[in-house]
């Protein structure tokens, strides 16, 4: 492969590798950190990283050095404009699914925060090892 193409592929794989590293670090945080609020932070980072991987798969590369990809909005509404738009736009389907996923993740996080406050009112601590020992 020529060096420019290799450099492009390398930079794309650095991006996907750091997203996977984010998933790994937040999974470690969910399992091994005993405090409840830290677990909530780690779960929200995990869901955001999974959504970003989905949008990354729907990306479209440059067709040629003068034809960059465009957002999924048609600006030229004539007949030829729509045909050119279908050749250049990024994939809109993962974006629509991720929109739903972000709102649902937000609703679950809000509910988890309420549950955390109820736990604190009941056990006077938020350390999960303490709660397991009390087992009230």
């Amino acid at each position: 492969m020529e060096p420019t193409e290799f450099l492009n592929l390398y930079l794309l794989s650095v991006t996907i590798a750091s997203l996977l590293a984010n998933v790994a670090i937040s999974l470690y945080g969910v399992f091994y950190k005993p405090h409840y609020t830290k677990k909530i932070i780690a779960v929200s980072i995990l869901s955001d990283s999974a959504n970003t991987i989905a949008i990354f798969i729907g990306f479209r590369r440059w067709l040629s050095p003068s034809q960059p990809p465009s957002v999924a909005i048609a600006t030229n509404l004539s007949r030829e404009g729509i045909e050119k738009f279908a050749n250049v736009g990024v994939d809109p389907l993962p974006q629509a699914l991720v929109l739903t996923a972000i709102v649902i993740g937000l609703a679950v996080t809000l509910f988890l925060i309420y549950l955390g406050y109820m736990l604190y009112c009941h056990y006077k601590t938020l350390d999960m090892r303490e709660i397991r020992r009390l087992k009230g």
Binding site: L7, V14, T15, K33, K38, S70, A72, V90, V98
Partner: protein, 105 residues
């Protein structure tokens, strides 16, 4: 309307006398943003002060917002910025103020 940003980047790389093609500059900024988000995630998970952990997680969400802009997804960006940089850290800080702040060993 949206394509003139890439023409600007080609002009910038021409001015920088190195002739980096626009595509490589695009992917380079994406990779740098993703690496900064890895550092912010690591600092957020291994921090004992929960207030600092929330601030680091807000920084990571800001980096993800820039990544969504570079991946050409403006609808996701407009949902993600108020939610993950404003509302979720706000509610988490309220929870921290009503419960504990320091994570014990």
């Amino acid at each position: 309307m949206y394509s003139h940003a890439w023409q600007t980047s080609s002009i910038l790389s021409y001015v920088g006398e190195k002739m980096i093609p626009g595509e490589t500059l695009h992917y380079l900024v994406m990779a740098v943003t993703a690496l900064i988000s890895v550092v912010a995630t690591y600092m957020a998970i291994t921090e004992k002060d929960l207030l600092k952990a929330v601030i680091f997680s807000a920084l990571q969400s800001g980096m993800y917002a820039i990544l969504y802009f570079l991946l050409l997804a403006p609808d996701i960006l407009l949902v993600y910025i108020p939610v993950a940089v404003g509302l979720i850290p706000g509610v988490l800080i309220v929870l921290i103020s009503k419960t504990e702040r320091w994570e014990k060993e």
